[in-house]
Symmetry: C2
Subunit: 450 residues, 2 copies
Amino acid sequence: MAASETSTELPIRDGEQKAAAEQQIDPWDVQAGQDEQGNALAFDYVAISQKWATKLIDDELLQRFERLTGHKPHRWLRRGLFFSHRDFDKILDKYEAGEPFFLYTGRGPSSDSLHLGHTIPFSFTKWLQDVFDVPLVIMLTDDEKALFKDKLTFEETHKFALANAKDIIACGFDVKKTFIYSDLDYIQGHFLMNIWEFSKLIPFNQVRGAFGFNESTNIGRIMFPAVQCVASFATSYPEIWSDKPPADRTKEIAKIQCLIPMAIDQDPYFRLVRDNAHRMKYPSPKPALIHSKFLTALQGAGGKMSASDPNSAIFMTDTPNQIKNKINKHAFSGGRETLEEHRRLGGIPEVDVAFQYLAYFEEDDAKLKEVEESYRKGELLTGELKKMAITLLQEYVKGFQERRKDVTEEILRQFMKPRKLEWKGNPNPKPKETKPKAPKEEKEAEKSKA
Amino acid sequence: MAASETSTELPIRDGEQKAAAEQQIDPWDVQAGQDEQGNALAFDYVAISQKWATKLIDDELLQRFERLTGHKPHRWLRRGLFFSHRDFDKILDKYEAGEPFFLYTGRGPSSDSLHLGHTIPFSFTKWLQDVFDVPLVIMLTDDEKALFKDKLTFEETHKFALANAKDIIACGFDVKKTFIYSDLDYIQGHFLMNIWEFSKLIPFNQVRGAFGFNESTNIGRIMFPAVQCVASFATSYPEIWSDKPPADRTKEIAKIQCLIPMAIDQDPYFRLVRDNAHRMKYPSPKPALIHSKFLTALQGAGGKMSASDPNSAIFMTDTPNQIKNKINKHAFSGGRETLEEHRRLGGIPEVDVAFQYLAYFEEDDAKLKEVEESYRKGELLTGELKKMAITLLQEYVKGFQERRKDVTEEILRQFMKPRKLEWKGNPNPKPKETKPKAPKEEKEAEKSKA
């Protein structure tokens, strides 16, 4: 595939409608905007990127990625599901130079199993891990979920964390280069010291605005951003770098940069760490971020798959039949009211949920383009389109379930054991350029010889 | 000694002067009130007890203590250095019934060695441990000190914590029943879970008032009260109760009450835990508290020995000669300007720092009374009084230094290792009374037989 094709324009409407009520996106509340009739609008991801001053992922960046790694960008990059970033170009610099970096992502365990939307960042991260061959840490914020959900206890979220870890493993990670941890189990020592050191840098009014806290917010919630932030510091995981990390290597380890694939709503956490990482005793580089959109709910525009609404989501425990019924019954259609109308006016792929899922799971760009055009012309019917989406989703979920069934307690234990990880990084790093001596410097050198 | 003598009235002036500026006492700031000329007044401990609704320790309580334990109350109880409490009577109930409880105290490691004032709560706690024969945990808040002192790093306070632990051990604790820990080293697992669970119960506005926080306070400081609070829960130390604590004993362990000997300025922390302990998933009883006054600075009324002012304090590293010189040069005297005046008007033991130290270190009540009367009459001169104080302080410091020199790294390691502690408790607990059946109940019982 030619480099110019890396970014396939996807006909998914990105909230171009004018909103009567603004969208609300923060780490704990995601609400689409509304039109004047109170209908949910699609999320306006370009607007959120502009508001938060992230960079949109463009063709040039993806072409460079392909040149450096020899890998075609993932379809979720080509089709804009991962659409925005901060300093991903700097991670490519590191890769090019053969310098170390690591991946970090996470999950808030609010239920005992994952839905389709939850697996997206993990499947993408697994792909990044395969491409870059670097260490990966996966944080399960069982502390956060109990702090932010009044009805959940810490025992419950901790159980969810262990159950979720099995689902995450089933996304295909390599145990040699992956460390998965529950905050409640793992945090201590270096990690805890980083939390306190970071928390000392952050006055209440800095988190107040960013996270919507107020006087009645519990002090655990106020503190929590420090926990999620320092998870992006390499020094929080002394074990993964060396079996017996010598204390005096902390300064050096701190310099290892982090790349975080994540949904855009988590950005406020990492703006905080990007603003303050250099102020730590052992300064760390700003973590690089790569942001995804939310996987659209079955109901369509403005929805986010949610574990608490079973009809909004495909669960990773769903049977092929359940998947078929959910798509057929609940997936919002861009087809027309009648067959005659559909043939005459054509379908609207931009709002069609089955088409969107197809776009996320069909690898073949040409085939997808063909489906889109055929649907738009009214040749392809909604039922036929849904059937294609159902087949792809059934395959994806089946693959997951097969891997999931092999995740034993022993395998879970291996992934969650703090230990030295094994990785290779870039097999062909670009040799460091030796800076040619400037004429003046040469003269100085000659002088000193004389 | 007769019970009625347990509480020796000490002629130490307790801030009976009218203050032009109010005293300020909280965990991080202790300022005496001032008179209209801006002179420091003595702390008004009765006022602070009334303001915070603590109970003053009275004769009746001390008599009961002596009856139950067979031990004469410590001279610091008899002479009102430990002057106030919350629920100490309930701890005596536990002791009487042979039910378990434990001791908890701590230190904020802000320098690398202790002064005389710092050792007072530890010497007193050691005595309580000897009397009650119960487990003791000692918390070194290296996290707190770095959070609250801008110039101290976490590495520095952690080093101070280990150095301070050696000094604390030199106060004479029994390693079998004492666990000393640095927050930065020890906190994880159950302790951390308690911290988060407690923090979820505390809205910002509850700590805001109690600790004088505001919008600019760093989020670590805002969180820290949860750390110090849950240190009073028995469940934070699963190891000390059993080698392999079964998970299902948490509920039972949570019921073990805690007694905290401490300086009065730390009371706000424990009001917070007393208000919320019953709201934990495994409810704990309110910790009992026993409050001390501050050891008066050499300069006299309204001062607190401070490590940052070398002339205010006797350090535990001072030589006998340094102690002699500090008392002779810096200890505020209640004697008169001239010998003639002193003979005529008599000294004022209430304001005399040497007399106060004598009162804290002279065990013999009758001898102390005699000294006081003789000084008040002008028979005993300041120099003679100071000499007595010097001798006692030199002995106390010498005993400390002898024990301190035997505290090896290995002994430190033993005290700081999380492990099952060994204790006996009350050797002669009062057998539980079987409640006699009330006549009505007997009738009911008869009926049911019929």
